[in-house]
Symmetry: none
């Protein structure tokens, strides 16, 4: 422990890494705590990113590496540690308790991102990694020339289906409504693919299989009929949930668990800021997460001036 830091950034996705870049340039004594060495958050698992301005068509892994290299070049200190608790210390300080030790800091930016939501159906947990996946980019290659299903109707679901259709014999897209939420360009692309079949107005009731996924039990919401579609893999893309497990009772959150904070990252708790997917916001994208990191560090600077 020992020294008091100016800032601890929790998370090394685009928000945390951009925050680190701004913190280094502001000469703050800062540390980035990350669960794993490979930074980039959800971006790492993205096959291709085409909407981060200036780097068209970059892979998620490459973009993550470039962000991290940028932060490292400016001297960012990274520590692989899992935050267990954040509590108030003496004199306006915060104590961050991790599995690798404790940190005393004047301010904290929570940039731990979000994780994929579960369907919560029978077979989902049991068959995770045995045909059930939340990341087409990571696991899609294992299903070459096989049959898969994507569950969801947003951008990610449609992107996943387009990606899978390049290698799979057939891809079902199961969506509970009769139209997709995804961007029109994605919809057009998806519906133009011969090996994609839409399963409209349907919910997945269970994922079937013994050691490996063998099919999904589908319920038609209009007729009420149930049927089983034989598939080798199921890719679940039904949304994300903020990683706030260890930040309960620390800051105010909305009903979905997102930390309530505006674009300046200011939370209900003085000295604690939030950036990226973890906060209440309209659009969760790499560019908006990165912007959050810059804004939060600016708020930290103002906070440090007026409190220390």
């Amino acid at each position: 422990m020992g020294d008091v830091l100016d800032l601890v950034i929790v998370g090394s996705g685009p928000a945390g890494l951009c925050g680190a870049i701004y913190a280094q340039r502001a000469r703050l004594d800062a540390v980035v705590l990350e669960q794993n060495y490979i930074s980039g958050g959800q971006v790492v698992n993205t096959y291709e990113v085409d909407n981060y301005p200036g780097l068209p068509g970059v892979s998620g892994m490459e973009l993550s590496n470039q962000f991290r290299a940028h932060a490292e070049k400016l001297g960012t200190k990274f520590v692989q540690a899992i935050v267990k608790k954040i509590e108030t210390g003496e004199g306006c300080l915060w104590k961050i308790i991790t599995d690798k030790g404790e940190y005393l800091t004047k301010s904290v930016i929570l940039a731990a991102g979000a994780v994929h939501s579960k369907l919560g159906v029978a077979g989902e947990e049991e068959l995770a990694g045995m045909g059930v996946s939340y990341c087409a980019t990571c696991d899609g290659a294992f299903f070459k020339n096989r049959v898969t299903a994507v569950v969801g109707g947003g951008d990610v679901a449609v992107e996943d289906a387009i990606f899978l259709a390049r290698g799979c014999k057939k891809v079902y897209v199961v969506h509970r409504r009769d139209e997709l939420r995804a961007a029109k360009s994605l919809q057009e692309k998806l519906l133009s693919l011969d090996n994609v079949e839409m399963v409209w107005n349907s919910t997945v009731e269970a994922i079937e299989g013994d050691d490996m996924v063998s099919g999904i039990r589908i319920k038609d919401k209009v007729s009420g009929d149930e049927s089983v579609i034989p598939v080798d893999g199921v890719f679940i893309a039904v949304g994300i949930q903020p990683n706030v497990e260890y930040f309960q009772n620390l800051v105010d959150m909305d009903e979905r668990g997102y930390i309530i904070a505006g674009e300046d990252g200011v939370t209900s708790q003085p000295g604690i800021f939030a950036a990226g997917d973890i906060r209440t916001k309209g659009l969760r994208q790499i560019i908006t997460a990165a912007s959050d990191g810059a804004n939060a560090v600016t708020s930290v600077q103002n906070y440090l001036v007026s409190h220390f």
Copy 2:
């Protein structure tokens, strides 16, 4: 004229170009109106940009070109035209009158940016980017262990000086009055710093240097004496002004002329959105402007769905 567009983006800085990228991916029928062919807004004139995540140490021109190339690759239509007036057309449409003709559109994103107020002294224009800067956050890191001067007495000037003092050997703050306008907490912080020297009641008469800034010529307003302070960099923080000349009476603005809009870009006028430096916001940077472009296009998509 003829066809009705989905969206006209006014301006081709980071906000406008990121907006264009998102608009193309959303398959909107959009046009970007720009004053000049070379896009990038204020970025173009930045010698080196080191805080756009993923592209450390890129030149402003190069970054601008990469943004533009990205937008062009996705099929963005650019028109070099100066907007003279924006007025309501029939059926919720907006008519944009330019020096090259008129456009009918369902929505508009105002992303015309802002310009830094100039001192208007000899050497200022000639040495811009060669030691003369209008953004400490952007360029301060290049002056590590060197001597700089900040001109101004408001919040931004004092924030800039505090920021610079962390890395610079010495920072002079030149102010024409005998007290600062900045917030008291900022003043206290500034005056507590050992390597900051106030130059009260003084105006900058000229910025000196051949290829690079070597000093500033100062006039003491009380005694009338002139002297030269040797510095490596001059940060001019005497205000910025949004480019809203042709948008008067169109949308609500604050007392400084910024278009009042949150991070979603929504203005007081349905169908008119604002992104980047032109809107009310805390931090004006490339990354936050680009984020604004993405957010504004998302708001446009929602607006189009509900109004057309």
